[in-house]
């Protein structure tokens, strides 16, 4: 191995059983076991992941006239509409929290999720020129497009802090516990994004389905209303179905940690996590199986 140019890439590709100093060996085979996820490969290409996220963030704010202002405006406008419709008109209960706060806190993870889901689904198709010409673990593409949403999220988080100040709402000591729920939202989006992005390569219809999916999904998630309002309507024996939607757990978790509303049941949370895990592992396996021929299909 050449040593004049020590490179992070070179060191990490070496399989574990090869002594350092030996040339790295890449084996190309017509068949691979389905469980060969090659996550190590992903780690090797972490710098590319960073650059792809960096590119998307940079381009995103460069090409829009309002730039980062969109990250603020979108959830604020949605909050306004939902507060008027559900809070003022329908007079739904708000768990003793100002209705705008109740909605906005839920919109934070929801918008991240919807963005990540949409972007990751389209990610392979929008990056097809890369797929056709360069090798890298294809997983990087949907992962990077999911991560791009974090920048908007961070901006909206600042707005939330401002709103809490305005309403004189003291943040809960548990506030930082929103992080695991954030992770759950990201993993949910990624899990579904893996399935859909691979499907989207084969069937371009997927792209057109996504807006409907996110719309209906949001209505099924307690974003514009509190979980309490729904659970009153659902007989207890059917509540686990409600928990199958991982975003219920995410949204409730956010409200619980930041606003101190009543937490959902642990059972529901458990069901959510299992659902996410199943979708994610399935998505990974499906994606890995399909990725070997992405370049032929795009």
């Amino acid at each position: 191995m050449r040593t004049e140019f020590p490179s992070a890439l070179a060191e990490n590709v070496v399989p574990a059983d090869v002594k350092p100093g030996a040339a790295l060996e890449t084996v190309i085979e017509s068949r691979e076991p389905w469980f060969a996820l090659k996550l190590r490969d992903l780690w090797t290409y972490r710098e590319l992941l960073f650059f792809l996220v960096w590119r998307d963030v940079k381009v995103r704010y460069k090409q829009t006239a309002l730039g980062a202002a969109w990250a603020v405006l979108q959830p604020l406008l949605a909050m306004l509409v939902f507060t008027l419709l559900f809070g003022r008109l329908a007079k739904l209960p708000s768990d003793n929290v100002p209705y705008p706060l109740l909605v906005y806190t839920a919109l934070l993870p929801w918008q991240l999720f919807a963005f990540a889901l949409t972007e990751s689904t389209n990610s392979l198709v929008t990056n097809q020129h890369l797929i056709r010409k360069v090798y890298f673990p294809r997983l990087i593409i949907p992962i990077s497009s999911v991560l791009v949403g974090l920048v908007d999220f961070a901006i909206s988080l600042l707005v939330l802090a401002g709103m809490m100040l305005y309403y004189g709402f003291r943040p809960q000591p548990t506030a930082l516990l929103f992080l695991p729920f954030l992770l759950l939202a990201i993993l949910t989006a990624l899990g579904i994004g893996l399935w859909l992005s691979a499907l989207n390569i084969k069937y371009r219809d997927v792209k057109y389905v996504i807006p409907f999916v996110t719309q209906f999904w949001m209505l099924a998630t307690p974003v514009a209303y509190s979980s309490k309002a729904v659970l009153q309507l659902v007989p207890p024996q059917w509540r686990f179905l409600y928990g199958l939607n991982p975003m219920v757990g995410v949204v409730e978790g956010f409200r619980w940690s930041v606003l101190g509303t009543e937490s959902g049941s642990g059972l529901m949370m458990g069901i959510s996590m299992v659902a996410v895990l199943v979708v994610l592992v399935g998505g990974l396996a499906y994606f890995k199986r399909m990725e070997r021929t992405f370049a032929d299909m795009v």
Binding site: A23, I28, H129, L130, D205
Partner: protein, 416 residues
């Protein structure tokens, strides 16, 4: 240094070609599934909506460390597919290959360039996409900028670059890639002459550093100057491999494998007989280059006076699209000339720089205006030829589609 850098065994790559190749819509999939029982009932089991096409078949090769290998073959011989498989862009259908060393592939310059980003940003992005680490990029940054000669425009979005600057920057990044195995496809055909020379000498120094290089190009001069060994592919299979000069000689002797540029025969009716057709390049060396003027010739024996004799040729693309129809004259049909018995020879010139590289077929249309067809309906006198872009100009943006060329007209590029 005699260890193997690449050893490939029985590599095969199959594509599904046909109406439904590539991506589908749900509608197509659903209708296919729905109509399946119907077709089955009709006894047409498993319609061949797609047919297998082997772009590579049983390709085995061994490349020693430090070898510079030129890969030769006509359009569609499988060169690019081989590079794609070896650089792990697509998985082979059969076979196995082992690569020893860090692999970098350049199947295109400027992969991943984003027009909105500045030159500086694109160097980092593109470098990373090509597999350079951040420290490598930082280290080579100034060299790259100097090589590309774009110092003044580093903070300008590349969408405002001239195409020359754009390609220079793209190549500069690629040239500073530092892998142990380098795979290069057709990337030298960029920029002006001076820049091409610079690229060639850079390639030469890369080769002399003892790196392993796989190189596909139509530029025979570059191949014979840079490469030590060669591999000749034809229809997805290895024809020969060995010292580069032998392989080049074999390649140029392959000549008319996929074309029939001359036809002789005797068909027609009592009015006229079609005897000979040909297509040839008017280039001094007679090569079927995209820049060459082509002559299509037709020889007829006219047996009795014919009023309104039609001699026409049709030009078809490889996929049987009719691209053009030409007549030997365009006189008013109301006052057609009468052709007297004897030999009639007509020549059609297809100007150079009109057709893109690819395979073409010429069909004949011999007849009497408004009366009858004499010959040409059953492919009598049909010709086939393949145009290649041998001079390397105008191949800046290779067409990605499997269906070959996309244009009928190509501009006359300044010839270097």
């Amino acid at each position: 240094m005699s260890a193997l850098a690449i050893s490939a065994e029985h590599i095969g790559k199959m594509y599904e070609i046909g109406a439904t190749a590539g991506y589908k819509t749900f509608r197509e999939s659903i209708t296919e599934t729905m109509t399946a029982p119907l077709r089955w009932a009709k006894g047409q089991r498993a319609v061949a909506a797609t047919e297998p096409f082997w772009a590579l078949r049983d390709v085995s090769m061994e490349v020693k460390q430090g070898d510079v290998v030129g890969i030769l073959g006509r359009n569609g011989a499988g060169k690019s597919t081989l590079l794609k498989v070896l650089s792990r862009i697509t998985a082979p259908t059969t076979g196995r290959a082992v690569l020893r060393g860090r692999m970098g592939s350049l199947l295109e310059v400027g992969t991943g360039f984003h027009p909105e980003l500045t030159g500086r940003d694109n160097i980092q992005l593109n470098g990373s996409i090509l597999g350079m680490s951040r420290t490598d990029i930082k280290k080579h940054f100034d060299e790259i900028v100097a090589f590309a000669e774009v110092e003044k425009f580093l903070d300008t979005p590349v969408k405002n670059y001239s195409s020359g600057m754009y390609m220079r920057l793209a190549f500069a990044v690629a040239a500073h890639l530092d892998p142990e195995i380098l795979v290069i496809d057709e990337v030298l055909a960029v920029g002006d002459t001076a820049f091409q020379k610079k690229c060639l000498s850079k390639m030469d120094s890369v080769a002399k550093e003892g790196r392993t290089v796989l190189f596909v190009s139509h530029n025979m001069g570059a191949i014979s100057a840079l490469c030590t060994t060669g591999l000749l592919l034809h229809q997805g299979q290895v024809v020969t491999s060995g010292p580069i000069q032998d392989v080049i000689r074999r390649y140029s002797s392959m000549g008319d494998l996929s074309s029939s540029t001359h036809w002789t025969g005797n068909c027609g009716d009592k009015n006229a007989r079609l005897r000979e057709t040909w297509v040839r390049s008017l280039d001094p060396d007679g090569s079927f280059d995209t820049a060459a003027d082509l002559e299509v010739g037709v020889r007829l024996d006219v047996l009795q006076p014919i009023e309104g004799l039609i001699i026409g040729i049709r030009l078809f693309s490889q996929y049987e699209y009719e691209l053009a129809y030409m007549l030997h004259d365009d006189s008013e049909s109301s006052s057609p000339d009468t052709v007297m018995p004897g030999e009639v020879v007509r020549r059609f010139i297809i100007p150079g720089n009109m057709l893109a590289a690819g395979n073409y077929r010429i069909g004949l249309d011999i007849g009497i205006h408004l009366v009858k067809k004499i010959a040409g309906d059953k492919d009598e006198g049909a010709l086939m030829f393949e145009l290649e872009n041998l001079r390397g100009v105008g191949r800046r943006f290779p067409v990605p589609a499997m269906r070959g060329f996309t244009s009928l007209f190509r501009p006359a590029w300044p010839v270097v």
